[in-house]
């Protein structure tokens, strides 16, 4: 149904550059940036979760607010690099249910982060509800990363024309 749209995206100059350019700054570089962004956002979020779960108790949770700019940097790197990767292979991503599962998991993880930040900023003591949210956050990020990695193995169509091998 969306094939004409996918075919049009795949014929745009940017998509062709991503797919065909031999430059390391095209597909390989943008893919590498996507992993850097993941490491910064999910990694620092994991450090925050661990703190809320009781590790490194002498770091006040509010200190992690200072790391937020780095986490948002990671998020924006991944929004932009992710868009570029979808424009490179729109059929591959958008016809794969696992892709939507990954987006959903990221949305949940970001929602939990928002809730945790609210608790941290109000400087109330870490209660069991917060600890549970932190544990769920770790699991949801791990699931999102796994879903992302499995995209390469669960796709059925690579482009409008070619199937995934």
């Amino acid at each position: 149904m969306f094939d004409p749209f996918f075919a049009w995206l795949e014929s745009t100059a940017f998509s062709l550059w991503m797919v065909e350019s031999p430059s390391l700054f095209a597909f390989p570089g943008i893919l590498a940036m996507h992993t850097i962004g993941l490491g910064l956002l999910a990694g620092l979020n994991a450090a925050l979760d661990l703190r809320l779960l009781g590790v490194a108790r002498n770091i006040p949770p509010v200190a992690f607010v200072r790391l937020l700019p780095v986490m948002w940097l990671g998020l924006w790197i991944n929004v932009l690099s992710g868009l570029a990767l979808v424009i490179a292979y729109p059929t591959k991503a958008l016809t794969n249910p696992v892709f939507y599962l990954k987006l959903g998991l990221i949305a949940v993880a970001l929602g939990i982060l928002r809730a945790l930040l609210g608790t941290i900023r109000s400087r109330v003591d870490v209660e069991s509800r917060t600890r549970m949210l932190a544990a769920v956050s770790l699991m949801v990020w791990a699931a999102a990363i796994t879903a992302g990695r499995l995209l390469a193995y669960t796709c059925t169509r690579l482009t409008v024309e070619f199937a995934c091998s």
């Binding site: 031999p22 992993t35 620092l44 006040p60 990020w141 995934c164």
Partner: protein, 182 residues
């Protein structure tokens, strides 16, 4: 190809049981997912401390981030284990791969930086009262750590594109599909 590379390849290729297991349907994707979760744990725990050493979270005692290090070690352990699985499954894809060479070099340098940090820097910052500026060596060590681990990640992601005798530019689309998408 150098003699010792050929010998190393032969040694790694001798783990045929592991290689057979890794070529079962979901072994490779599962190990890859674990490798990415491991890198996240490692970069998150070490990166938070590096950013503290660089001065981003000024008022927290720098040594308190030490408690996150066991989780970086867990992340590293997951990745050393899963990385070894990849290596013994397709040794020639790594041993003659420039991206992998640079990754190993950065891993060694990162290891030396950890040794330097614990032998020289950590003792000095451990007793430092909060608010006191960190010694320059602490900042340098934190910055070097961050740069090295990020380079390790980039090199790891680049391994696919430097596979010997596979995935060189200009090939037909279906072939690029095999190489690039994975």
């Amino acid at each position: 190809m150098i003699e010792w590379q050929v010998q190393l390849e032969a040694f790694l290729a001798s783990f045929t049981n592991v290689a057979a297991f890794m070529q079962l349907h979901w072994s490779w994707p599962a190990a890859e997912s674990a490798h990415f979760i491991g890198l996240t744990l490692l970069l998150g725990s070490i990166g938070a401390w590096d950013l503290r050493l660089l001065g981003l979270i000024g008022n927290v005692p720098a040594a308190s981030f030490h408690r996150l290090v066991p989780f970086a070690v867990i992340g590293f352990g997951i990745n050393a284990a899963t990385g070894s699985l990849f290596l013994v499954t397709f040794p020639n894809q790594y041993i003659y791969n420039s991206a992998f060479h640079l990754k190993v070099l950065c891993l060694i340098l990162a290891g030396l930086n950890v040794a330097f940090f614990y032998l020289v820097v950590f003792r000095r910052i451990r007793t430092l009262p909060p608010g006191q500026p960190l010694p320059i060596l602490a900042r340098v060590s934190g910055g070097v750590s961050l740069v090295l681990w990020l380079t390790v990640i980039v090199c790891g992601r680049m391994i696919t594109f430097f596979r010997p005798a596979l995935c060189r530019g200009e090939e037909a689309l279906q072939f690029v599909a095999d190489c690039i998408v994975r």
